[in-house]
């Protein structure tokens, strides 16, 4: 990594840490949401960008994690770490059970099968009222605690810093995977799946492992998504959630991890501004934004930034 690279990263980190001090409550809240969704989208990039597995049902595992964390808080413990751990584990379980079937399909078939699984999980959340509260969702969740029964996380700024740390841990895990030999194997599967088989790789097993890791991190993000508003409903795991994650990745730049986060920030901010400015017609503007991004930024924001960087370097 170059010195400029390190400097940029440190500056970004400093800004993120200082954010609540500079921004108002609403914007801090928005930034918290961006970090949570950004982690969720980055976990999808592991599947979509790095492994060549376009999942359209990722929101399902996000929701599974959220409900697991919320239900644990309501019935067992408010400990934040326990909730995250359980959420990640439960999401992993669902991922393995569905992944065993999903990885046998390729391309568009994989896309649609994961869509089906995601939608079925959503239907499950909507209908299993005794457990999930049905369309009303689960609410009245006690605030997550860090140690003992301290309500330190009740304050928005505190929760933001907790989210930032959680985000960094989750993001670091994804980064490690991507840079590891396992990550290299995923690149091989993406580039030429058939060849991997003839090189001795048990490809379905590797795909299942990637799927499980990605969905677990989605569940991890889901736990945070429930801890923040202390509420979660089936809306939070609807098809829209999965679709927006894909949009965020494409806008930010596939196969970069950070692109997913930047794309999420872009989407949240633009939607926020547009719905203020245009109230009921923000969809029209959003559609225009998508179209423009596709035509003008072929490699997403990150690609565009890299090209600018090269221009200035000359």
């Amino acid at each position: 990594m170059t010195r400029t690279g390190i400097a940029v990263r440190l500056a970004a980190l400093a800004l993120l840490v200082a954010a609540p001090v500079v921004l108002d409550t609403y914007r801090t809240f928005l930034l918290t949401e961006i970090l949570i969704f950004g982690l969720f989208a980055a976990s999808l990039d592991l599947l979509l960008g790095y492994s060549g597995l376009p999942s359209l049902g990722h929101g399902g595992y996000f929701g599974v994690g959220a409900y697991a964390a919320g239900l644990l808080a309501l019935h067992a413990t408010t400990n934040a770490f326990a909730q995250i751990l359980v959420a990640t584990g439960v999401a992993a379980g669902f991922a393995i059970v569905t992944g065993v079937f999903a990885v046998r399909s390729r391309g568009v078939y994989f896309l649609m099968l994961t869509l089906a699984f995601g939608q079925l999980l959503w239907v499950l959340a909507l209908n299993w009222s005794s457990l999930t509260g049905g369309s009303n969702g689960i609410f009245g969740i006690p605030v997550a605690t860090l140690a003992g029964s301290s309500r330190w996380l009740a304050a928005g700024d505190h929760f933001y810093w907790y989210t930032l740390c959680s985000f960094l841990v989750g993001y670091a895990l994804l980064k490690l995977v991507v840079l590891s030999p396992f990550g290299r194997a995923l690149a091989g599967i993406r580039e030429n799946e058939a060849r991997m088989g003839s090189l001795g790789y048990n490809v379905p097993l590797y795909k299942l492992a990637a799927f499980t890791i990605a969905c677990s991190i989605a569940g991890y993000a889901g736990a945070l998504a429930c801890q923040q508003p202390k509420y979660f409903s089936p809306d939070g795991m609807s098809f829209d959630v999965s679709a927006v994650a894909i949009v965020a990745i494409v806008i930010g730049g596939q196969r970069t991890l950070i692109g997913a986060v930047l794309g999420s920030a872009f989407y949240y901010v633009v939607r926020d501004q547009l719905s203020d400015l245009l109230s009921s017609h923000w969809e029209l503007a959003l559609g225009l934004v998508f179209v423009l991004v596709v035509y003008l930024l072929p490699d997403g924001l990150v690609g565009g930034a890299r090209r600018l960087q090269r221009r200035f370097a000359r």
Binding site: N127, H281, F290
Partner: protein
């Protein structure tokens, strides 16, 4: 008669309307799915704007028939021409990104989908509307001891006719042979001297025309509302994938299955108080089929 046959006959009797509705819906979706399947099989483009084509068709039909007094059949004919025009616009929009991955296409066509959906609400508002079918199809006919709306029967017939024509074109004409070959290996067909770009453009135009036509004839059955594009697009996508990409026979069988899943799902859901029975039946059916046949019913 065995007990199972008696049960089946009973079930058919009690749910007669829903079952036939499922067939009509299936035929409607099939007409949409032909274009979607070919566009994907041939052009390798995942065209989410297909829902917009249906949407524009249905609002065009509504506008012509309900506001301008144009006869229904004339409106349907106009929609075909209109559809080809829209197909051309779509071709222009997609051409610059034809070599980029599916995700870029998804983003573009999704963006177009949002734009069109919002333009529709600007022009026509968000209310629910419907299109009145032609006069001679307004009554109900008696079938197998039940009364059933003639218009829906007409839609079933139209769907079957289109299926038959498509089958004949595909299996018996040279154009059909070229199309089937191009789905298998586009480059090869080009190397044989055929103008593959022209073929692809015509497929896009024909697919778009079928979609807007479906929008008009679907108007009396489905709602004329900004959200209908979403609903039919999802059904068409499911049908195309479940049937196997690029396979018209697959799309036909899948439409019948999916049409039933949706229709019976809604009906039985209402009967037993389970509002999500329809999506459950739909996605459950899709999941089961893709688990058993990971490349669709007739896929490779």
């Amino acid at each position: 008669m065995t007990a199972a046959a008696v049960l089946a006959a009973n079930f058919f009797d009690q749910n007669f309307s829903s079952i036939l509705n499922g067939v009509a819906l299936g035929m409607l979706i099939f007409i949409l799915a032909i274009g979607l399947s070919l566009i994907f099989g041939l052009l390798d483009v995942l065209n989410l704007a297909h829902g917009s084509l249906y949407l524009l068709g249905t609002y065009l039909g509504y506008s012509l028939v309900e506001h301008h007094g144009v006869p229904f059949i004339a409106a349907a004919a106009i929609s075909i021409v209109f559809g080809m025009g829209l197909g051309f616009v779509l071709a222009l929009a997609v051409w610059p990104i034809r070599d980029r991955g599916h995700l870029d296409q998804v983003l573009l066509t999704l963006g177009l989908f949002f734009i069109v959906a919002d333009l529709v609400t600007i022009i026509w508002g968000r209310d629910f509307h419907t299109i009145t079918p032609p006069g001679f199809l307004l009554q109900s006919k008696q079938i197998l001891g039940h009364y059933y709306p003639s218009y829906r029967l007409a839609v079933i017939v139209i769907g079957l006719v289109i299926a038959l024509v498509t089958y004949l074109v595909f299996e018996r004409t040279q154009l059909g042979a070229i199309l089937r070959a191009a789905v298998e290996d586009r480059a090869m067909v080009g190397a044989l001297g055929y103008n593959v770009n022209a073929v692809m453009l015509w497929v896009l135009l024909a697919g778009a025309a079928l979609a807007t036509f479906a929008g008009v004839i679907g108007g009396p059955i489905e709602q004329v509302t900004p959200g209908v594009g979403n609903d039919v697009l999802l059904l068409a996508l499911i049908v195309v994938v479940v049937g196997g990409l690029g396979s018209i026979p697959g799309a036909f069988v899948a439409s019948l299955i999916i049409g039933q899943a949706e229709s019976l799902g809604v009906a039985l859901g209402q009967q037993y108080g389970l509002p999500q029975a329809a999506p459950f039946a739909l996605f459950g059916a899709m999941a089961l089929i893709l688990i058993a046949r990971p490349a669709g019913l007739f896929g490779k």
